[in-house]
Symmetry: D2
Subunit: 373 residues, 4 copies
């Protein structure tokens, strides 16, 4: 399973090179965009290079600063300190080129990302795309996005070139990638829990894996819809997209599984943010809790953003919300064969914005956790 | 203050006449409409006359039963029991006439109510309108709704004829009214708390009254907007419409106050339903808690749907949610002059649907609390 | 599987006998007790026989009426109507005997129920116990409750006599039972979803069943603990009691399964009430959605309190909260073999109080749904 | 009004002296303690001097690290990075002395703070006390805390020496203080909104000021009580301590008002954290929005942690939660006399922990906002 081959090898962190990079964020009006802006503005390596913030022309018409869009990010300009509010400007290629942008974050709908990536690369700009447009290598899996490309051959080639932006699995490829496809939030929580056990060959795949995942409402985006209405989500829980969620393809490709080996059901939680995935599987051979914990710890020995919990000490959503961590815990049945994994992360951070910054760090040769602790 | 003159006089409830009436609900797709449907279907006096449920043509196209629209209302059709799911049909005047509707509930936007009421009355159908279209008698106050009438003279005449549907204040007029304007949710909570003290002449009006009101999100209606998005409302509190909320006119007219005598600020609470209004005033003369409690109790001696609390025993939103009650409590400062009133109700019930049914009961000569306990 | 044998047989509802019964509720201070009080006070067959409400002596010392304990239940005593607030009195056997109680609801901790049931039966009082004390017939399963009995032989005999109070499975036995053990909330949601498919022999038991269940905080009871603290539960989700929840024994006994055939993990939801269980299984043979739906519908053809949803139309917690229903829906994978069931109920109602009243109805020979719609 | 005299004078920030200090936090098990730990661990000036974390002996018995107590704060120890989990040790004076602590944060109950402060000062340790024990100079106001002192004369003298830790009002005194009494959360939100207008003499004090304040549940502390139970707080709103909240004395002393000039009613919001205070007053003379905004801006010209909003642009709780800011906005009535102020902050940060760190910064001569942005 070559997709899992990279994790254990980076025993030494790359030498830290504290030179700045010029970044840009398209789609700064949304939830992930706001988190990206927050993280990049506070990033130690970016203090001399304010990111360029880009929004849709209609959304930024009468809100010209980041603080107008997201008042929680505002800082004072006061005697002896403070910096002016960062501008948010309409997206144009000219603006991007003029700014000297080296890395562009796309926090945009997948159709938009699909359209923009070829042009960004043609302009010599590396891209970290937070949408689902470039995550899937198998066209059959990617079909769920109903993508239409102006230049299908180029798109198909880029699709293969794109690196799945899970640093815990693909650090080396990310370091040199032109196009990083930032993983889905549900997918990240499930892949990080399962990858170590699958790589170690412990999982009884004939029996299959059940992933019961639950996410806060921000996962549904900022658009006001019937399902993001407070009255729909509050005091409620609902399962959706059973047998058909878009992130399923990521699980199959990244974990090397077939559709009948893994089952994934998402649920909408009445909370703003956070994902908890409860994962049920059987081991090929009876094991001990110590062996399971050891397998997880070794896999993540060089990964600052995954926290492995002690056996029986399960993570909760509160432990990870507003952090860049994925927490993984487990309980093993007395028979030593039935295993329940619990994996938690913040869907807007390790499931989106902080994972994107983690990828930036890897691409820039900075410490992977820079600006995320 | 003639608006307050009716409360104390109905020491004897009207004789109960258990004959059914044919009712109809327009706007059954919304939150208040769903509550109306629930209350009317369970109403003891309506067991032989299922209400006619009407919706917008687009909303009821592929949802032809009430249970499709509101699964929580569904009942089984099972061997030996159950009744078929009530149909929801598009609104047409022909349908209304054919059904023999005697009382029509309008749970519709105020523009719609404004347009439909003249025609309903012309068809001999009495109307209980839950919108703000007909609540205000003073055209200056009503201007906030920017109403446009096909026949201004008729509309103006109906505006004066319309009875403000607060049974605790206007029972006699409601009993014979053709058009009842069901009060606003905030207005109900504030008017019911203040009316007894104002009628008794206890309030220092030079000092003025401050009404700090807080409502759950259902008060904003079913439309998916930026402000009804879960991510906006959850874990948040915001004041809005300071000095400009539409319900202000109801306070002025029903309480006989001028704009600088009462100040009302609504807030959006991160809960589905419920209103709590905290009301600050000074008394003309030092008083005792017993006198205040007595004033409230006497005023509501014949009112089944107002619960007066003991001095110092303040109501909370939990006490009234999913009930048809308005709870009123208070604390008096040691100086005997500064008074804080707390008034709670469910904005979808006593602030909308159950108050409408209370009005139906009065109009039909049934017990005022019928179907509401 | 004899436990599943009763459901299909009651094609005709028992003749309604509208004679009253004298009931009592012990533990009326808690959440389930409050719901029981609400349901019994409104029960059509009990309008002439107010239940006797009993509380712990310390809890009812200075709160002598039901309305003091639960202000949301209060009604006015007003001119021409209303009834006085029901008293809540300390539990004593003398009080029970003097009241002529025929059926006693125990909404008490399991230790208390274990102690009181023998004496109640000895006094000729039938019992509906809402605790876990008498639900499990196999002593190995019951050991989880660490029960200590004054008279072990009697207790053991009663343990076998006790009828598991799931009317959909055991109507006939409940009708004549002296001791009904009201089911656990999680157990009810899972048993009702699985029983029809297991009875029909459709489930691949070699593969096993995964039950991922989520409950609101009221399931944890009224005691203020670290885990019922708002700051622990709000904006959070946590799995707990993996491989060790007390309700597991009910699943094994009622569904006739062994411990490695069914896996049940509960989670704490940040909502007041409601349970949603997502259940994963494989069918022995490929099936169609119509066959699954038909199997469910036939099983519940005479059950008013279970609502079977159409294939693909999944229930949500909002659909069942504050109702006495259990809603069951499902999705079948395109392969016709992998099945996901979703089962929802209100843990305080179908998971506790309304199920208890449903049992009362069966015991009294009333319509099973009486007072619950 | 000398209490308001200091704000405008610090046009130049004190020279930054980046030398570390040895700090300690007592009461790190609670909510404010956890926030203090988080802030201090990330504080740029404290990277070479890890704070000493102290807890109650029973609470830290089997949880010896900060990460055990607060898993959300955990960081990995990984190859090439990470630092070991900070220890939490039982509080003893010997431990404090041995550690060389210069500044001690007390996030402890007021009785504890009252007992410990004299000894800490005697040991030459400066104290920032987050409790209410030392905030009030007038013994009549302080009586609400029912304080009992071993050495009344010493305590009385320290009571007068203690500086009210609102840097926006008392920067100079804080800079040299031995004992800083960190303000109450409600009090901070109200004082910061009113101080500029009172200092400018704009407020009609004959008319009085109404402060309707609402706080999230964390304000009630970590103890599991009936009122911090999820079932009490969720989906609810309740007013409490009308005419009698402990923070009232802070308002009187810091704003120079008498009890009948200001009225303060707190409410419990169903959210984890955040305070919004809605403040109603009349101006002595008609004013313009620009004048009000200017008065606020000038007062806070040198204050990095107060954000003044534009006229009519009201802050919300979401804007300040998890920040160290107090946001102040307002609306002025068309008559130019009635003013509504809205003031928001995070009760655990600007209402507790970040305000304490702000005080540390002032005491140490660091930038006031260091570690808070």
């Amino acid at each position: 399973m070559s997709t899992l081959a990279f994790a254990g090898e980076l025993a030494t962190a790359p030498a830290q090179t504290r030179i700045s990079m010029k970044t840009a964020v398209a789609g700064v009006t949304g939830y992930a965009g706001a988190e990206l802006a927050r993280l990049l503005l506070a990033h130690p390596c970016l203090q001399d290079a304010e990111p360029l913030f880009l929004g849709r022309m209609d959304a930024v018409a009468d809100a010209t600063t980041l603080y107008d869009l997201h008042p929680q990010l505002a800082r004072n300009t006061f005697a002896g300190g403070g910096r002016p509010a960062p501008s948010v400007v309409p997206f144009t290629w000219q603006t991007l080129r003029d700014s000297g942008t080296e890395v562009l974050f796309l926090a945009t709908p997948h159709e938009q990302s699909r359209e923009w990536v070829p042009e960004a690369l043609a302009n010599g700009i590396r891209v970290i795309d937070l949408s689902g447009a470039w995550r899937l290598h198998d066209p059959a899996n990617a079909a769920v996005y109903k993508l239409e490309d102006a230049e299908p051959a180029l798109a198909s080639s880029l699709q293969q070139e794109a690196v799945y932006g899970c640093p815990e699995l693909h650090r080396d490829e990310i370091a040199t990638a032109r196009l990083v496809a930032n993983p889905g939030c549900y997918a990240t929580s499930i892949i990080l829990a399962l990858a170590p056990l699958l790589q170690a060959g412990l999982v009884d795949l004939d029996h299959g894996v059940v992933c019961d995942a639950k996410s806060g409402v921000s996962g549904g985006g900022k658009a006001a819809t019937a399902k993001t209405h407070f009255m729909y989500a509050a005091d409620n829980l609902s399962a959706y997209a059973v047998f058909g969620h878009r992130h399923t393809g990521e699980l199959l490709e990244q974990l090397g599984l077939s559709a009948d080996q893994i089952q994934f059901t998402p649920h909408l939680l009445p909370i703003p943010r956070g994902i908890l995935s409860t994962i049920y599987l059987r081991l090929n051979e009876p094991s001990t809790a110590a062996q399971i914990e050891d397998t997880l710890r070794q896999f993540y020995a060089t990964s600052p953003m995954v926290r492995v919990r002690r056996a029986g000490d399960l993570p909760q959503i509160q432990h990870v919300v507003r952090t860049g961590f994925c927490d993984i815990g487990f309980e093993l049945a007395p028979d030593g064969k039935r295993l329940v994994l619990v994996s938690c992360l913040d869907n807007l951070l390790k499931g989106a914005a902080s994972q994107a910054v983690q990828n930036l760090n890897v691409m820039a040769g900075w410490n992977e956790e820079e600006g995320l602790l």
